[in-house]
Amino acid sequence: MKRKKIKEFLWENLIAFASIFSIIILILIFVYLLRDGLPVFSVVSIKDFLTGKLWYPISSPAKFGILPLIEGSLLVTALATAIAAPLGVGCAFYIAEIAPPKIRDFLKIIVELIAGIPSVVLGFIGMVTLSVFVKNAFHISTGLTAFTGGIVLAFMAIPTIATISEDAIYSVPKDQREASLALGATKWQTLYKVIFPSSLSGIIAAVMLGVGRAIGETMVVMMVCGNSAVIPHTIFQPVRTLTATIAAEMGETVRGSDHYHALFAIGITLFCIAFVINLIADVAVRRKGARA
């Protein structure tokens, strides 16, 4: 009996330990980014790093200004969100409120499959089809632009936005919708005057997570956006994002060089951006919980 108790005690502690593993990993990620990223700030100040307009990591003297990369990331993400947010939310409302059960099940599977397409495949297809189309449609010298990348990223963000919005719509209490219908409102009036406002914070969370998905995406932007590290003036111009810079340059840099540390510092920047986005989404979800 006693041995059984000890065994149980050990197991339960093991379970508790495994459960804090995700905290440990998150801390480890941050520590390792700091460890290899912070040394770059002995060469360039944090302010110059974030606001410098020139990214020439291998010329001498090297210039480590990531403003063009930040703007590249923001531009592509903004484009993607502008397309994906209305489509994703619209799709969620269609699935949750309008679609007949068979079509609903079908669409849910489709949305899940889209979420599963490997990003490198989307990047490849964007490169060989969409970029050619963009080039010919707008008569520009290259189709690998921020615009092209934004479209492909939008497609990647739609599943995230649609699934989470759908959950938010489902969580609106049934009696609210019934009360509205009983007062003589049409289904559409109920949808946008009752269901939409009460699910709004969940939808905001969904859009934020979609933004996070788009800003953190690497392969698509590396293959489709043209990779030129200059501050973009139009959306029909090649841009380079934070993620693509790390992925494209890490292979060629010398371990321990300033360039290497600068790439890790970009990693820190990305980590912080992702953290803030998740925090906003989390707050939005919590507000919903408080009101329901």
Binding site: A18, F21, D36, G90, L113, I117, G123, E217
Partner: protein, 281 residues
């Protein structure tokens, strides 16, 4: 009447949104099938690449990806399920639980390329595993951990409370209840989650860029400390880094990758739907 008309217009737009999502995926699948199918034959699937990857097949990349996902899932499945067990069976609503949940959400939001940097810093350089299957699969394991935890938790929560109470009333300890009653009943849901995790790991490129991937390695890896080719990375390099690769080969590689990932996803979805229908309680 006006209300009717505006409802009609609005619902048409929402319906279009719903189906706008379907068109691109049909296009992508159709496009890959038409362009990629001619490349698929026995040699393509079972031979190593030759002549600077212009000829031969993609066998080492397929095997490399299989090794990677098997190693990744064997690390993250036990970890993820244990964590889910803690969250559903033991955790109280206190700061630690909230911290665990917050870190899972944030872990899911960390960009994949940042996972790659982390893997490079910790496994490849600090722990000196080098560029290897071990480094890559550990990186992937941590990347898919949130997927596994969330799916397992959902599966554990569907097991009714009365099952647990019955077991406890018969004198089973909490651990025995979990082992003999809760986990077996949640198993199909946990399996679904792990298949989804595997498919995610199979398709990721950025985390393996600096931790495992070999540009060109026309042989099979010897051990987990060996470098390996992987399908997504292989597609990336033949599509962008190496000039003169026949289009057929690129489309063929993309098709194989998509079929692999979609196949896994469909199995998971099918499995989950059957499990939901069959539930007796």
């Amino acid at each position: 009447m006006r209300a009717k008309i505006s409802q009609h217009i609005a619902f048409t737009i929402l319906t279009l949104c719903g189906f706008a999502v379907v068109l691109p995926i049909i296009f992508i699948l159709g496009f890959l099938l038409v362009k990629g199918l001619p490349a698929i034959n026995i040699e393509f699937l079972t031979a190593a690449p030759r002549a600077g990857m212009k000829e031969g097949g993609i066998f080492p990349a397929i095997v490399g990806t299989l090794y990677l996902v098997i190693c990744a899932i064997s690390v993250s499945l036990p970890l993820g399920v244990t964590c889910a067990v803690y969250l559903t069976e033991y955790a109280r609503d206190n700061w630690l639980t909230r911290l665990i949940r917050l870190s899972i959400v944030n872990l899911a939001g960390v960009p994949s390329v940042v996972f790659g940097l982390f893997g490079l810093g910790l496994f490849v350089i600090f722990l000196q595993f080098g560029s290897s299957i071990l480094s890559g699969s550990l990186t992937l394991a941590f990347l898919i951990l949130p997927v596994i935890i969330t799916a397992s938790e959902e599966a554990l929560l569907t097991v009714p409370k009365s099952f647990r109470e019955a077991a406890l009333a018969l004198g089973a300890t909490r651990l025995e209840t979990i082992r003999t009653v809760v986990l077996p009943n949640a198993l199909p849901g946990i399996l679904t989650g792990s298949i989804l995790g595997v498919s995610r790991a199979a398709g990721e490129t950025a985390p393996i860029l600096f931790t495992v991937a070999a540009f060109f390695l026309p042989r099979l890896p010897h051990s987990i400390f060996d470098q390996a080719m992987a399908l997504p990375y292989h597609l990336y390099i033949i599509a962008t880094q190496v000039p003169g690769i026949p289009d057929k080969t690129k489309y063929g590689t993309a098709l194989v990758l998509v079929v692999l990932v979609f196949g896994l996803n469909l199995i998971a979805i099918f499995f989950r739907n059957r499990f939901r229908k069959r539930r007796k309680w």
